[in-house]
Amino acid sequence: MSRKEWFRLDTAALIFPAIRHHNWNNVFRLSAEMADEVDPDALNRAAADLARRFPTFFVRLRKGFFWYYLEKLEKPAPALRDFAYPLTYMPAKELRKSCIRLFYHENRIAMELFHSVSDGGGASVFFKNLLVRYIFYKYGVVTPPQGDIADIEAKPSPEELEDGFYRFAGPKPMGRNEENSYRMTGTHDDTGFKHLVTGILPTDELIKKSHEYGATVTAFLSGVMAESIMKLQRRRVPEKMQKPVKITIAANLRHIFPTKTMRNFVLAVNPGFDPGYGSYSLEDIVRIISHQLAVDLMPQTMSGRIMTNVAPQRNPVVRLMPRFIKDMAMSMVYFSVGERKGSINISNLGQMTLDESAAAYVKRIEFIIGEQYTYPNNCAVASYGGRTYINLIRNIRETELERIFFSRLVSLGIPVEIETNERE
């Protein structure tokens, strides 16, 4: 019998098994629309190749006495026909079998991943490799291994498998004190249906407009989102009870620290402002967010925040606690502190690019994150082929935020095309 290969969870991954709740956990999705109908056999062959090259992706979640761990699957589960709505609940029973789902539906290939395996940055590299390998099996087109595309025959480098948090932790931890933010509410959809509204924007116009405001695309979109939430709060909450509007932005630490890790290497920052102090224009909001991001994304600041997360793992008392006690403690801290600091998440994968040889077969790439447990809306952004796809997911029936956000972009002169998974 061959020896089972297994991996410790990285620092960011530890939280996700602990905070799983009935009908909710952290799963995200990447999907691509191909030129032709998807061939599931080619997709399965591509997945089998990638299981060798990226061993940390085709794994299942197992329990040890002290920690969870990821056990490598002997072979990837075959791709399934896609469901009617994205990010259907991935129950514990399924995670014990596989933390990754591969789907196909007509021209679309989709991948859903439990967050303990990797973050959006790592998963996007994996997904691009999956597409390239699929294209090889389906069309016989070879894409040269450069940039994010890995040499499929090579062995994974130790850097790809490392826990970047351990390597780049600073000397001193940083405090977690932050003000709580405004939380949106709505009529919860008990069916479990994840409502999705996709706004499609021309990337060049979005970049141009962001630069007009002196900001990056992420800061600009966060500004428009913060302004939309501010308007929403004004309608619902009396003036004296207004709370800060903060956007939780997932910062890809690979842009700050030099690593090629395929595991989680992301930290959330929460820039925002307090509308209780007065009226803010979009220019003000974008400026505030840009400046806060500039400070938060300094390597020194980040290494301190990394150390805050790594320090408990190095504590021998914490290490010797049974897993279920750690789970309870992490869950309590997360729901009482972690989820209260942001009004909405924005996760921007940025420009997704593929080599010309493969790009001809891929029409569209999208990124979707699930909603949080205690707040109903979330936003994921990815750009591909000159178009930016903004996916707003929600588990409530109201579309007020989506309407304010997208119509604001239209009023700024950026044309927005809307798609949805709603049945009429």
């Binding site: 009908n23 026909r81 989506e402 119509s407 927005v416 095309e417 809307i418 949805t420």
Partner: protein, 230 residues
Amino acid sequence: MYCVKCGVKLQEGTRSCPLCGTPVLLPDDILEDREITYSDLFPKEHNSARYLGLSLATALMGAAALVCFIMCINMYGEIAWSGYAMLGIALGWIWLVFPFWFPHRNPIIFSGVDLVALGGYLLYINCKSGGHWFLSFAFPLVGIVTLLICGVTALYRYVPGGRAFITGGFFILVGGCCILIEFFQHITFGSEMFVWSLYAVTVFAAIGLFFIIAGIIRPLRDFLHRKFFF
């Protein structure tokens, strides 16, 4: 095709704006067979009716126990027969309702809980009826059954493979325990030894050996698996 209120461009064939619900004002453009980009396959939904049923069963059993209690107090002014009835209902609840509250039931824990509850009920009957059979007979009997069932369940759950050997060993142990049970029967009720236990040992040992042989001979095991898997 644009929404007149939000200004966003809509998918061809959309009947109303997904953001604000404003109807599209060009009915001629509505395509009956518009392309739907999402799959029509829905995942299995969670069954909340189960919890309603369990709550109802709990309420009914609780009401039945309460009725027994009130009747008994009215008739005798103390807990007489209602003690048996109430604890019987509680035992039924622990066996039939309690495990189903949990989405993931660990059979080792619940079989242990069920047998401990049974032991407690027998202890109550023993004390209430002034019997002297609990410590020397009921307790060891329930203890043996608990150990055997929990042990074999744990082995089934956590030992990969070797099912035939586990089952064979279980039957042989059950046979061995029959002698013990007859011994407890002998010291409690004064009955003769080796009246029935040797027959039971023989039968259980034969079944156990069959399973062990099936474990050793792979084609036989595969055949049994093929025919009797569940």
